[in-house]
């Protein structure tokens, strides 16, 4: 029997199997950030230890940083202290840090791929659930808790039970105005916010193969939003072309040797998955969420679902969610007014996302009363946007181009959406309070968000495309 992509990588990283328990899995790369690492550093220090393999860790500050005036000291004392601790911990333990002010600083899941740190065939972890992003390169990448961060710091290993495997095939051609964010929102709406719990997902099919690396990252990024441990896509020429020449990608003879290995990373034709789902790309519309988990998404032309067929328990939970959002069952989502537009986060803050938005808004102006924040995923994305003149397009449109960080994705740093306001967001979570206490989030693609910025409403972007 053949092996899946996942199994090929997993098997190469098992140090040891434990009877009736998990496997000891070796970790190649470990990303850390300021929020989930301080307690782990404290933990190993309490044991009188140093970080075991500091060269295999890359650190950045992203969650808790301001996205304006990054050259100034951070105003909030607790935030400043947390970022300062990261600096001290990294210095003490010899960990490379791309902190504030560094030309490589940015959201951890944006910088790993763009620096060429993320590579096919690797095991990659980070104390952050969207570590699944790195799976787009054909890596086993998943989020971990702080105790596990400590384990990896101490031993470069984790105790992991092998997950079940699911393959999601998306075949056919995407309709105009439909982008990778719509694919993943469609999948999550189809199988629900818990539909892939216990599974690792491989995305396959012609529609996936045709996507750019950045678009693939958007899809793998949101795997966690259906409960999956991670998501992955087999590497191919598009992957190799993206990687070649990046700072930490292998060079010369090393590149040739690794390339030969990477080309073996695919699921064999007779590999068996525990579950398989087939999707026709042509069925996907621009998507938007209406509720308070990412599984509550619909095509833009559809009505918010009715509660008529739900049982009492489902109804109570459903109405709680709609009540938070200030929405009614069985009404259209289209034409609802919005107050904020957030284009950013590890889901959609890469250069292609900014280009997509810039192409759409060029020569247009934002709607009155709408505030539009564009937050590039990294310093390098920011620089590239400036080099391409994208910053001018945003400026003319009345958008605010901020500095790199997680920003309004999580309501932790200064960037929060005010209570009761509606924000159309390219991020990945619409949970209650995610973007700030009582903020209301519609998740959508950068294209749909751009159209909302111009019209001030939730609209079907296809009506505005030539």
């Amino acid at each position: 029997m053949g092996k899946t992509l996942f199994e090929k990588i997993w098997d190469k990283h098992v140090v040891k199997e434990i009877d009736g328990g998990p496997s000891v899995l070796y970790i190649d790369k470990h990303f850390i950030h300021e929020v989930t690492s301080p307690q782990a550093f404290k933990g190993i220090e309490k044991r009188g230890m140093k970080v075991f393999r500091p060269q295999q860790i890359v650190a950045t500050a992203d969650h808790n940083v301001p996205t304006l005036n990054q050259h100034l000291p951070i105003g909030d004392e607790l935030s400043r202290n947390q970022v300062q601790q990261l600096i001290e911990n990294c210095a003490k333990h010899g960990v490379e840090l791309y902190g504030l002010g560094h030309p490589f600083q940015g959201i951890v899941h944006v910088i790993g791929p763009e620096l060429g740190v993320t590579q096919p065939g690797m095991t990659i972890v980070c104390g952050d659930s969207h570590t699944s992003t790195h799976g787009a390169f054909g890596a086993i990448a998943f989020g971990i808790g702080t105790s596990e961060v400590e384990m990896v710091m101490a031993t470069q290993c984790l105790m992991q039970s092998k997950p079940k495997l699911m393959r999601i095939n998306v075949d056919g051609e995407l309709k105009n105005g439909v982008v990778s964010k719509d694919i993943i929102l469609y999948i999550i709406a189809l199988i629900s916010a818990s539909g892939a719990t216990g599974y690792f997902v491989e995305y396959a099919g012609s529609a996936i193969r045709s996507l750019s690396m950045e678009a693939r990252m958007t899809i793998c990024n949101m795997s966690i939003e259906m409960g999956a441990r991670g998501g992955m896509i087999a590497p191919d020429q598009i992957t190799f072309d993206y990687m070649e020449g990046r700072l930490f990608a292998p060079k010369g003879a090393e590149w040739t040797a690794r390339l030969a290995e990477w080309k073996q990373l695919y699921s064999d034709s007779d590999a068996v998955f525990d579950k398989e789902i087939n999707i026709d790309a042509a069925d996907i519309e621009p998507m938007i969420t209406y509720g308070t988990n990412p599984g509550m998404g619909i095509g833009i032309t559809k009505n918010i679902p009715s509660d008529a067929t739900l049982d009492d328990n489902e109804k109570r939970n459903f109405l709680k969610s709609l009540n938070y959002m200030g929405l009614q069952p069985d009404t259209p989502i289209k034409d609802r007014n919005i107050d904020y537009v957030f284009i950013g986060s590890c889901t959609n803050s890469r250069i292609e996302d900014l280009r997509m938005v810039a192409d759409f808004v060029k020569g247009k102006k934002k709607a009155d009363g709408v505030e539009v924040w564009i937050v590039p995923g990294s310093k390098q994305v920011e620089l590239q946007a400036k080099n391409e003149g994208i910053d001018k397009i945003f400026e003319e449109a009345g958008f605010m181009l901020r500095q790199p960080g997680c920003s309004a994705c999580l309501g932790m740093n200064e960037d929060k959406i005010p209570a009761g306001k509606y924000c159309i967001s390219t991020s990945n979570r619409n949970f209650e309070g995610r973007q700030g206490p009582n903020a209301r989030t519609f998740l959508a693609s950068p294209l749909t968000a751009a159209a909302a910025a111009i019209t001030g409403k939730v609209v079907d972007v296809r009506e505005y495309l030539n």
Binding site: D19, V24, Q85, T155
Partner: protein, 197 residues
């Protein structure tokens, strides 16, 4: 103090809500601390309080109802989804809970709980709905759990179920062992593995 847990018997706090994500368990703005302690007061912060201080509790939230207390947190399905923040498990443990009961847990939350000696017990939908109904009727009702026997029961209802926990983690719970202790004990094997690649 040993972290080991085997038998727990107590009343319960019912959070009858599905898809409780870790942003609800502890909102991101309370993740700025650099130690593991003190997160309990921010558990379910935005469901518990109107403001960022404790002066305006929300009357309708179960944790503000003095009738309910105990070492068991009982919640609707898909508990702990979303962010990987271990602070969620720390907050629950810090607030005095030893066991979380649901019909379905998100993976990372479950791992984080296991790593903090907070026992996640997965029960059937039927067990869960009976338990919710019973607690609402009688907040004094007690639940008991045994890690050794892998059994959860509600004696007053004659309700009893086996639950799963892998053999390795069971040993950890019964003896108070951490994964990290185990990994450190096999460091020579890890180094040998590195050499062999």
């Amino acid at each position: 103090m040993s972290k080991a847990i085997n038998e727990v018997k107590s009343t319960v706090v019912p959070v009858d809500i599905e898809n409780v994500d870790t942003d609800q368990i502890i909102p991101a703005r309370f993740l700025k601390a650099t130690s593991r302690d003190g997160f309990g007061k921010n558990l379910f912060r935005d469901w518990r309080y109107h403001n960022d201080d404790e002066s305006q509790p929300k009357a309708d939230f179960v944790m503000n109802d003095p009738k309910f207390s105990g070492k068991f947190l009982v919640a609707g399905k898909n508990f702990g989804c979303g962010s990987s923040r271990e602070h969620a498990a720390w907050a629950i443990k810090d607030a005095g809970f030893d066991v979380v009961v649901s019909s379905f847990f998100a993976d990372i939350f479950k791992n984080n709980s296991l790593n903090n000696f907070l026992l996640p017990v997965t029960v059937s939908e039927e067990f869960l709905s009976k338990l919710f109904a019973a607690v609402k009727e009688n907040p004094a009702i007690e639940v008991q759990v045994s890690v050794q026997d892998q059994v959860i029961e509600v004696p007053a209802l004659g309700l009893k179920e086996q639950f799963d926990i892998n053999a390795y983690k069971k040993t950890c719970f019964l003896n108070g062992y951490d994964d990290i202790d185990y990994l450190l004990s096999i460091k020579p094997e890890i180094e040998a593995f590195e050499q062999s690649r």
